[in-house]
């Protein structure tokens, strides 16, 4: 069982993804353990200015409904959250979300670096960061922040990615604990779940 050397100290999972990550993300969400105890906080690049549709598409595939939180909404155990279109989404001390309309970063709003970086600041070593397929460098700095605070870093195996720029950027910036195919990310999450029973 200890393939990944996990434990029950984690408080949240953050996931970043861009071009080519939709399949991976839906696979992960569709195979979540029914009792998964941690919030899953996702920041995915998405069509600009299309507010509707995406969260619904993810929800259909997901074991639990996916929500786009409101500003200052509390982060709940087992909640699955998606950064809304055209807003950056931060995690704040006190365990809630905050939205902002600051300038785009890496041509993106929401920017993965912001969600991952602020989550790292709040959850420190109790955070798992996962970065999937993507066509730009967003998320690399966020993964570095997670590693620097002692969290666990995982990227999708570049050879499996439709576009591998994003995971490779993270690999170049920081130590990545696990480079995994999506199926193995699913196994890791299922193994993690067992520590919380």
């Amino acid at each position: 069982m200890s393939q990944f050397n996990l434990n029950s100290s984690y408080k949240a999972v953050v996931i970043g993804g861009s071009a080519g990550s939709f399949q991976g993300i839906t696979k992960i969400l569709s195979q979540l353990p029914k009792t998964f105890p941690l919030p899953i906080i996702m920041c995915l690049h998405r069509l600009k200015h299309v507010r509707n549709g995406f969260v619904e598409a993810l929800s259909i595939k997901s074991v639990f409904p996916v929500v786009e939180p409101n500003d200052k909404e509390q982060i709940k155990k087992g909640g699955i959250y998606l950064a809304p279109s055209n807003y950056h989404m931060s995690v704040e001390l006190g365990n809630y979300f905050a939205m902002s309309t600051e300038e785009m970063i890496n041509n993106s709003r929401p920017a993965i670096d912001i969600t991952l970086g602020t989550a790292a600041f709040v959850y420190r070593e109790k955070l798992i960061g996962i970065l999937l397929s993507g066509a730009n460098r967003d998320g690399g700095m966020g993964m570095k922040h997670i590693k620097d605070k002692g969290g666990l870093t995982i990227v999708q195996e570049p050879s499996e990615c439709m576009i591998d720029t994003m995971p490779k950027a993270a690999i170049n910036l920081t130590k990545i604990d696990h480079v995994l195919k999506v199926d193995d990310i699913v196994s890791l999450i299922n193994e993690l779940d067992k520590y919380y029973r």
């Binding site: 200015h49 409101n70 200052k72 905050a98 939205m99 902002s100 309309t101 600041f121």
Partner: protein, 274 residues
């Protein structure tokens, strides 16, 4: 480049600004405030100590500082579905009771939201019957708003929003392009009063039938949001409307039970109790 700022250092900055200039950022949301501070230190090439020194010794710096600190990103007809609700439900609702009325744009930034409203009102044929008040804390951005002149490259997005709003014409009909800038017809701003107003320390200064405060309170923590929402409640006539940003909500605040949800999707509320 400085990678991070301690909460203690952020406190020193907000305390200094508060005691010396009266602006109160102590209840702003932490993450975005910290990013803004990091950005200021980077673009002005300052250390925390030199920033503190500059703020305490050079009063002219404060306006420049406020302009950098505030997030001014905005669009015309942002969230087109919201503007359709304003045109098709909210304004007809106000017109049932009043022929003339007041609108307040709180946190108007560079004015795109105000121009959008003016265009909407003109297309409804009631532009002359409405007084608009547009306020912001940031005087630099207010000057830009008065000019109604924007980079031409922003127009692609604005025009897309306008098409989805299902406006009557095109935005080009309302502006002229010259040297990479578009300037809107000044007549659109004829009934607009621009003025500096700080939502945190400012008083209730008028009564309104419709208040828009979109994507402003997201920069506040919940304690401050709660206080500001009380001021909005006091600034509305009974049965007046309050519109907030698409990712904001007021169901949790002290005055929530004095409002009715008119559009949950577009976040428009109606004051039903004094």
């Amino acid at each position: 480049m400085i990678q991070d700022i301690d909460i203690a250092d952020l406190k020193r900055i907000t305390e200094l600004i508060h005691s010396k200039y009266g602006y109160d950022f102590r209840n702003y949301a932490m993450s975005s405030f910290k990013r803004r501070m990091l950005r200021i230190l980077e673009v002005k090439n300052l250390s925390i100590e030199s920033l503190l020194k500059k703020l305490s010794e050079s009063p002219v710096f404060i306006n420049e500082f406020l302009d950098e600190l505030t997030v001014n990103v905005t669009e015309m007809f942002r969230d087109p579905g919201f503007w359709r609700v304003i045109r098709d439900e909210i304004i007809p609702g106000i017109l049932l009771n009043h022929k003339t009325f007041n609108i307040w744009h709180a946190g108007c930034s560079s004015g795109e939201e105000v121009i959008s409203m003016a265009i909407l009102l003109r297309e409804m044929g009631i532009h002359n019957d409405v007084s608009l008040y547009a306020t912001d804390l940031d005087t630099t951005i207010l000057e830009k708003a008065k000019m109604a002149s924007y980079p031409a490259k922003n127009m692609e997005l604005n025009e897309k929003n306008y098409i989805r709003f299902e406006g009557k014409w095109t935005l080009k009909d309302y502006c002229k392009e010259e040297n990479g800038k578009v300037t809107f017809d000044k007549g659109l701003l004829a009934n607009v009063t621009f003025r500096k107003h700080d939502l945190v320390i400012g008083d209730v200064f008028n009564k309104f039938d419709l208040i828009l405060c979109r994507n402003v309170m997201i920069y506040f923590n919940q304690t401050l949001q709660n206080e500001v929402l009380k001021k909005f409640h006091a600034s509305l006539f009974k049965y007046g409307y309050l519109a907030i940003g698409s990712k904001e909500s007021l169901i949790w605040c002290d005055v929530a039970n004095r409002f009715l949800v008119v559009s949950n999707e577009e976040k428009v509320y109606k004051k039903i109790k004094d």
